[in-house]
Subunit: 80 residues, 2 copies
Amino acid sequence: MKAKVYVTLKPGVLDPQGKAIHHSAELLGFSNISDIRQGKYFEISLDDAVNETEAREAAEKIAHEVLANPVIEDYRVEIV
Amino acid sequence: MKAKVYVTLKPGVLDPQGKAIHHSAELLGFSNISDIRQGKYFEISLDDAVNETEAREAAEKIAHEVLANPVIEDYRVEIV
């Protein structure tokens, strides 16, 4: 069982890395972009014995405690 | 119009950062994880005048040229 975790900065939190990418993209001629924000993406492979509910619980816990900083970041968990 | 770009390491490419996260998660007591791989996630806001086909084209191009290293990374583009 696999869990996908998407971590994004909360709206309103400044994203200098995204701004830098936006700037680079503009220099390279991409002119129709209004904004780029960078986030993180994790694929967690869980043991086969784990069922979907347990997988979601474990992934939510890892996302909250390890992968994201809940003060400035939001996260979303998807089980596949 | 928004494009979401997911960048992941190709299978077989070593992911030391993912390994480090896996190790930290184990130390914190998460025992049912077999692997963690880290990727990148980008949200690109495009000008409203851009239609879906153009948005996908632009996002694929940016993903290929700026956001991912196609030698070792795969990317996936989603238009929302």
